[in-house]
Symmetry: C2
Subunit: 467 residues, 2 copies
């Protein structure tokens, strides 16, 4: 509560310098409707039902696989079945990459199997696999200090473990091992890189994930060990052994492929060209069924827009556009294409405000607004937070980019909000085979949906602009 009051004062204060008559209020009618939406959404199971359909009838949705195609078909079909006013897809060019198979075995001092998962864009090992002594580095920074050529014929191993935090703050510091580690390993001459999974669980399910692409850097075989397998290597070192490991990784560069953003709209009654963006990313990693990453976000936002359409008598003033972005996991590829296309067709300016749900299915506890929300509109965000209060949401200070797929729009100055979810368990599941529907609590899906109806409805109904 202290955070709420403090940030409220801080954030509200700029509005004080404006004359009261300059502020466009949120009408009582709008507030009443938002409260009604909120309360009735808590009794509505449609977000969970949409998620159940997506994970059961589609499953994993990795670019370049049959699952992705099924997912895109599902998105179009589901938007239409729900009665969205406009439904379409937009092609996105990209380079595809898929996993074929991966095995890892400790060959010395004693034979043992290890469980690994190749990381996105990992190259294959030579036919028949490669063997090398493991050289352990605690962190990416330590590996990055290794002298050029010093790891010739070796397999580098980054062993540090990410920390569990409510807001996922442990992810960033650890994740650099995944995104950039291969580059440091390649520079030092290593034939491959193993990293401890970027995850907080202790299951034998490695966390896969993307690697960053750097011009002029050739990929090497790079894979994540499950936490228990990383422990195993660390214990072998602690006992004085130097484990020799055999890796056999097969991956496939698919070359140029086409993915799609799938879009459904509830068209605004008064300002149909003005757009409130909500959504999630439709693609998922290939190991699980993409329930928390990001089936939940897809389902919450589709259900919220649909619930507004079905609950409120007339369409909101503005258009609510639900975007199911493609190929987020391989580098926000769909989101970048979406933003670029709006720059080119001149409709970027019509994007009034937006947010993505992409942090699982934990309850929302905080509402932030980005620096692009103008002082004259802060009171609207505060009003949203007030209406979300009974759902356990408080107003928070600090920056936001509105979620990963909002980053390209944020970078172009589009206002956004961040609906902060409890992510304490999120990194137990993130990018693993365990990302399945059974991990999702229907009650939490209802809470999320209620929060998103409040945001989307007020953003679309309030007559002012956020910029």
């Amino acid at each position: 509560m202290r955070i709420f009051i403090t940030s409220l004062l801080l954030l509200v204060s700029p509005t004080i310098i404006l004359a009261n008559d300059q502020l466009i209020p949120v009408s009582e009618k709008t507030k009443k409707t938002a409260a009604l939406l909120r309360d009735s959404a808590l009794k509505n199971n449609s977000a969970y039902e949409i998620l159940s359909s997506l994970t059961t009838e589609v499953g994993a949705r990795h670019p370049g696989t049959p699952g992705e195609k099924n997912g895109i078909d599902w998105g179009v079909r589901t938007f239409k079945k729900l009665g969205f006013d406009k439904v379409w897809t937009e092609d996105v060019q990209m380079n595809g990459w898929v996993r074929v198979s991966e095995t890892a075995e400790v060959m010395a001092p004693y034979y043992q199997k290890l469980v690994i998962s190749a990381l996105g864009r990992s190259s294959s090992t030579p036919e028949g696999g490669l063997k090398g002594d493991i050289v352990e580095f605690e962190t990416y920074a330590d590996l990055d200090k290794a002298a050029q050529g010093s790891l010739q014929g070796k397999i580098a191993f980054i062993s540090n473990r990410m920390e569990r935090k409510i807001d996922g703050a442990g992810y960033g510091p650890a994740n650099i091992a995944r995104t950039k580690g291969y580059m440091a390993a390649a520079k030092a001459g290593a034939s491959a890189l193993l990293i401890r999974s970027i995850g907080t669980d202790d299951h034998r399910n490695p966390h896969t994930g993307g690697t960053n692409i750097f011009k002029g850097v050739t990929s090497i075989p790079v894979a994540a060990l499950s936490n228990p397998d990383a422990d195993q290597l660390e214990r072998l070192f602690a006992l004085g052994h130097t484990p020799k490991v055999k890796l056999n990784i097969k991956t496939k560069d698919l070359g140029p492929i086409v993915t799609k953003n799938v879009i459904g709209e509830i068209t605004g009654r008064e300002k149909p060209n003005e757009i409130v963006v909500i959504g999630g990313h439709l693609d998922s990693w290939d190991l699980g069924t993409g329930a928390v990453d990001d089936g939940a976000g897809v389902a919450i936002t589709m259900a919220a827009a649909n619930f507004i359409k079905n609950t409120v008598k007339e369409r909101p003033r503005r258009t609510i556009r639900v975007i199911l972005w493609g190929a987020e996991e391989l580098g926000l590829i769909g989101a970048r294409a979406y933003a670029k296309a709006r720059q080119e067709d001149g409709t970027l300016k019509d994007h009034i405000i937006g947010s993505e749900s992409d942090f699982g299915a934990g309850p929302v506890y905080g509402l932030k607004s980005s620096e692009h929300v103008a002082p004259k509109a802060i009171h609207v965000i505060d009003t949203m937070a007030g209406l979300m209060g009974p759902l356990g949401v408080t107003r928070r200070s600090g920056g936001t980019m509105g979620g990963p797929d909002m980053i390209p729009l944020h970078a172009l100055g589009i206002p956004s909000v961040g609906l902060m979810q409890n992510g304490e368990d999120y990194f137990d599941l993130h990018h693993t085979p365990d990302d399945t529907l059974d991990k999702v609590d229907p009650k939490m899906m209802r809470q999320n949906m209620a929060v998103w109806t409040v945001f989307a409805y007020i953003a679309a109904e309030w007559p002012g602009t956020f910029k």
Copy 2:
């Protein structure tokens, strides 16, 4: 506590009809020594250290694999390093079976991968795999009612889920699907059987396990789905689909192979031929590193015997024999061979009492005695329970066979005790890749070791016999 008092009265009562002078008491010195062992064992980490060594330096120990051989070498080496008085192995003939690979995919209504694990002695699918519509049965009993030939070309699926109970009581009723299901499926003409994993977790790690061998019954491909994958099939049925699944299972019958029981003794000072048996099974399933099943039992009993040797000035009156049984998972093969050999060499009668630790690393909460413990010796078991009281152990009524590998000795009339462990989480890990050291709490290993020192010491020191 009520259970304790009730069962104590019940079990003590038969001794009341014996004249007091017929009872051989547990001496005050023995009790004092047992209490000292108990209290000092709680500060001793050796059971955890032994388990760490076994799981780290050996890992999975499935018969017919390099891991089993490493495990046997480790057993001999570790007994010797600890200074056991006698250390030897005994060859056991068996038929070996190993997994090679397994995949499962839903082909219709939508393509999806499923995570499975072939069950012990499953046959291979034809080269290239087999496809079939899934026919769902809730239980083994339902499948067993299917008419002969009615499942021709189909894949049978048993979907019921085992219940979580402190004593693992949910295992038996569910497990018949694993041990006998393939026979019912084959009888009905099914080309393969899938079962929901016999496990209580929700991770994407299937629970493997043995199938029973029945003369004249040919095995078919049989595999367990992880719980989330079984949910997935059930949801597809609930949506009105009949999933068509492709299975590709490769296994290998190794034919006759030799495994070993590994045995270490603390030789009795007065009655070296009289034997108190404790131990665990050295083999494990191939998916995990056999930490809770049954590295824990191996480590607890090795450490307990060793701790008695190192803590008490003189050897106990009788021999404490620590048996690391081989090939338990494929049908108590080492235990049956051990018992048969003792029948043949006439030393069966020298086995005074025994117990196996084979229910993970949860704390011991109860002590039972088998029906072969004579009324004149019940007071000794009660005394053991009393001394274990400060560890949270109470005396329990009801039968025991002293643990799986004690069954053959129990069947031949050898007295045994059951040291009941809290197994609420045991079936989250049992027979899965997740059976790794990180799941074990060192504190619980100390509690177990303390309990086992009390049992083994009193059983070996008390001058009377239990039969």
